[in-house]
Amino acid sequence: MPSADSAVASPMGSRRRIHTLAFDDPSRALAAVRALRADGFEVDDVHTPYAVHGMDEALGLPETRLGLATLAGGLLGAGVAFGFQFWTHAVDWPLVIGGKSPLALPAQVPVSFELTILFAAFATVGTFLARRRLFPRIAVTPPSQPGPGVTDDRFVVLVVERDAGFRPARLRELARELGPVETVEGWRVM
C-alpha cells in the first residue's frame, strides 16, 4: 500500500518500499523496463545474469566515463616511465654508453610503453571496482542482490516507491500484461 511513510529515514539511508518483478526472459525484462518507465514508474535497477544489451539505455543510464580513468592512468604511466628513465640515466648517474647521449629516447620507448599499459589497466580496473563498491567481502550474500537467481537465469526489475503518488493498482495491472514469473514486495535501504 502506498503511504506517506513509504520513505523511512534510517542511519544508512532511507528505507523504501520496492516491488520486484522477476522474468525468465531478457527481452521481456527489457520490454517491462520500457513499459514501466513510460508509465511513470521509477525503475531503480535491473539485475541480470549477463550484460543484456540495451538495458542501460532502457533504464536511461548515461554513458560511463570509465575511459577517462584509462587515459589518466596511461598518461601517468608514460610520465613516470619517461621521467624515471630520464632521471636515472641523464640526471642522477649520467652514463655514456656506446657514445650515445645519456638521454637516448628511442631506447626508453619499450619500458614506457609497457608502463603506460600497466598503469592504464590498473586505473581502469581500480576505478571500476571502487566506483561500483566491489571489494572482497565476508558476507556470503550481497545485500543489494535480489535473490540468488540473478546470477543464474532470472532478470529482476526493481520498481521503487518514491512518493505518495505511487499507483500499486496500475503496477499490478501492468505486471499482468508483462508476465513476470514472480513478483515480490519488500523494503530496501537505498
Partner: protein, 455 residues
C-alpha cells in the same frame, strides 16, 4: 533480414536454457573428481616435483650442471622461456583481439585460453630466473634504491625491456582474467554452500548483477582488451629484441618482431587446441566447445603456420641476398650443419603439418587436430632452439665452435615446466568455471534472436 540469406551459425548446440548452461558448466566443479582427473593431476604434480628438485640441484650446485659451454651460453633455458611466452599469446589473442573484432565464437574458449596464458607466462618466468645462476639476487633487475652507487638498471638493454614486458604481461593478463571471472564467481557463490561459498563470496567482491555494474563492466572489458592487444604484440616483439638487437648472425634481423609474434600465436593456438580437445571431452562440454570452434582454430593455425613458413623463407632469401658471408654461413649451417636435424624437424612440423588443414575433414577430426597441434608444439619449440643454439654454436671464430648437448637436468626442468603448467590447469578446471557463464549466456541470447530474425 531476408529469410535464409544468412546462415545461422550455432555456436552453442541444442539451444539449452540459461539454468541448463549454469548447471552443465558448474557440474564438473561440484562433483568429486574422477580417476581421470586424479591420474592426470598426480602425473603432473610428480613431474612438477621432479622439476622443483632439479631446479634446487641447479641452484645449489650452479648452472655448470647444464650442458652450456663458452660458445653456447643460452640453451634449453632461453629456448623454454621463449617457447612458454609464445604459448601464452593465444590466450590474449582470443580474449582481447577477438573481443575487439566481435568474434562471438571466442566466448566459449576465452576463459580456458586466458588461464592457459597465465600458467604459460608463469612457466616462462622460471627460466630467466634460474639461468641467472644466482636467482636469489633476481630482484637486481628491478630499479630500486640500492647501495651499489646507487646505480640504476640499464634501461637501454633489451633484456631489461623484457623484464618490464613480461611482468606487465603477466599482471595485465591476471587482471583481465580476474575481472572476467567476477560475475562467474558470483554464480558459483550463489550455487554453493559452506566454506566454498565463503571463498567464492570473498572473491566475487559482492557482485549483484545490477545493470549499472554490468554497463561499467562491459566498458572495462573493452578498455582492457584495447590495452591487452598492443601489449601482446609488444611482448613478443620485445622478446625478439633480446636477439635482434645483438650483432649475431641469425639474430640480427628486422624480421624478428613480426616473425616472433606470428610464431607465438601459432604455437599458442596449437596448445589451446591440445588442451581444449581433452578438457571438453573430460568435462563433457561438447555443447559449448564445438567442432566449429576447432575448425576456426585450425584455420588460425593454418594461417599463422604459413606466416611462419614465409618468415623462414624470407630469412633464407635475405641471408643469400645480403651478400654478408657470416649471415649466409649461419643459414647454410642451420639447414645443413650439425643441427640440421633440428632445422628440418622445425620445417616439417611448422610448415608441412598445418597444410593438412586445407581439408575441412581434417579441421573437423579430433584425432588429426590433436596430432597436428602436438607436432606444431614440438616444431615451435625447435624453432626457438634453432634460433638460439644453432646461431650461437658456430660463431666468428672457428676455434671456438662447439656443439651443445643438454644434460638430463635441463631436460628434467623442461619436463617440470610442463608439470607446473598442467598442475595449474587441472586445479583451475576444478575451482573456476572453465567456460564463462555470462559470456555464453549472452552468446546464446544473441543466437536465439538471430535465429528468430532469420526465420
Amino acid at each position: 533480414m531476408s529469410a535464409g540469406a544468412e546462415r545461422v551459425e550455432e555456436l552453442i548446440l541444442g539451444n539449452p536454457t540459461f539454468s541448463q548452461v549454469t548447471n552443465e558448466i558448474a557440474s564438473p566443479m561440484e562433483r568429486r573428481p574422477g580417476p581421470a582427473w586424479w591420474g592426470a593431476f598426480l602425473t603432473a604434480a610428480s613431474v612438477l616435483t621432479l622439476g622443483v628438485v632439479l631446479i634446487g640441484y641447479t641452484m645449489s650446485t650452479g648452472i655448470g650442471v647444464w650442458g652450456l659451454n663458452r660458445t653456447v651460453g643460452w640453451g634449453y633455458d632461453i629456448t623454454n622461456f621463449v617457447f612458454w611466452v609464445g604459448i601464452g599469446h593465444a590466450g590474449t589473442l582470443i580474449s582481447a583481439i577477438l573481443l575487439l573484432f566481435r568474434q562471438r565464437w571466442r566466448t566459449s574458449i576465452a576463459r580456458a585460453a586466458e588461464g592457459m596464458t597465465i600458467f604459460a607466462v608463469l612457466c616462462a618466468a622460471i627460466f630467466p630466473l634460474i639461468h641467472m645462476g644466482r636467482p636469489w639476487l633476481a630482484f637486481w633487475v628491478f630499479p630500486y634504491p640500492n647501495t651499489r652507487g646507487p646505480i640504476s638498471v640499464n634501461f637501454r638493454s633489451p633484456l631489461l625491456w623484457d623484464v618490464f614486458a613480461i611482468s606487465t604481461y603477466f599482471t595485465v593478463s591476471l587482471l583481465f582474467w580476474y575481472v572476467g571471472l567476477i560475475p562467474d564467481l558470483a554464480t558459483m557463490r550463489d550455487r554453493s554452500t559452506g566454506w566454498r561459498r565463503r571463498i567464492y563470496a570473498f572473491l566475487a567482491l559482492g557482485w549483484d548483477g545490477g545493470t549499472r555494474t554490468w554497463q561499467r563492466y562491459e566498458k572495462a572489458c573493452v578498455l582492457l582488451a584495447g590495452l591487452a592487444t598492443p601489449l601482446v604484440v609488444s611482448v613478443h616483439t620485445i622478446v625478439s629484441f633480446d636477439f635482434a638487437t645483438s650483432v649475431i648472425p641469425g639474430w640480427h634481423t628486422t624480421i624478428f618482431p613480426p616473425y616472433f609474434v606470428a610464431g607465438a600465436v601459432f604455437s599458442g593456438f596449437a596448445m589451446v587446441i591440445t588442451l581444449l580437445l581433452v578438457t571438453r571431452k573430460v568435462l563433457g562440454l561438447e555443447r559449448y566447445i564445438t567442432a566449429s570452434h576447432f575448425e576456426k582454430m585450425a584455420r588460425v593455425l593454418l594461417t599463422t603456420g604459413m606466416i611462419v613458413g614465409f618468415a623462414y623463407a624470407t630469412e633464407l632469401c635475405i641471408a643469400l641476398y645480403s651478400g654478408n658471408r657470416y649471415e649466409r654461413f649461419t643459414f647454410e649451417n642451420r639447414a645443413f650443419g650439425p643441427y640440421a636435424w633440428a632445422y628440418w624437424t622445425m620445417v616439417a612440423c611448422n610448415v608441412l603439418v598445418p597444410q593438412v588443414f586445407w581439408w575441412a575433414r581434417a579441421r573437423r577430426s579430433a584425432l588429426v587436430l590433436f596430432v597436428a597441434a602436438c607436432l606444431v608444439n614440438v616444431g615451435m619449440w625447435f624453432e626457438r632452439f634453432n634460433i638460439i643454439v644453432t646461431s650461437l654454436h658456430r660463431d666468428y671464430l672457428p676455434s671456438s665452435w662447439s656443439y651443445y648437448t643438454p644434460t638430463l637436468v635441463e631436460m628434467g626442468i623442461l619436463l617440470g615446466s610442463f608439470g607446473l603448467f598442467f598442475t595449474c590447469f587441472l586445479l583451475f578446471v576444478r575451482f573456476a568455471p572453465v567456460v564463462a557463464f555470462h559470456e555464453v549466456k549472452l552468446t546464446l541470447s544473441e543466437q536465439r534472436e538471430t535465429a528468430h530474425a532469420v526465420r
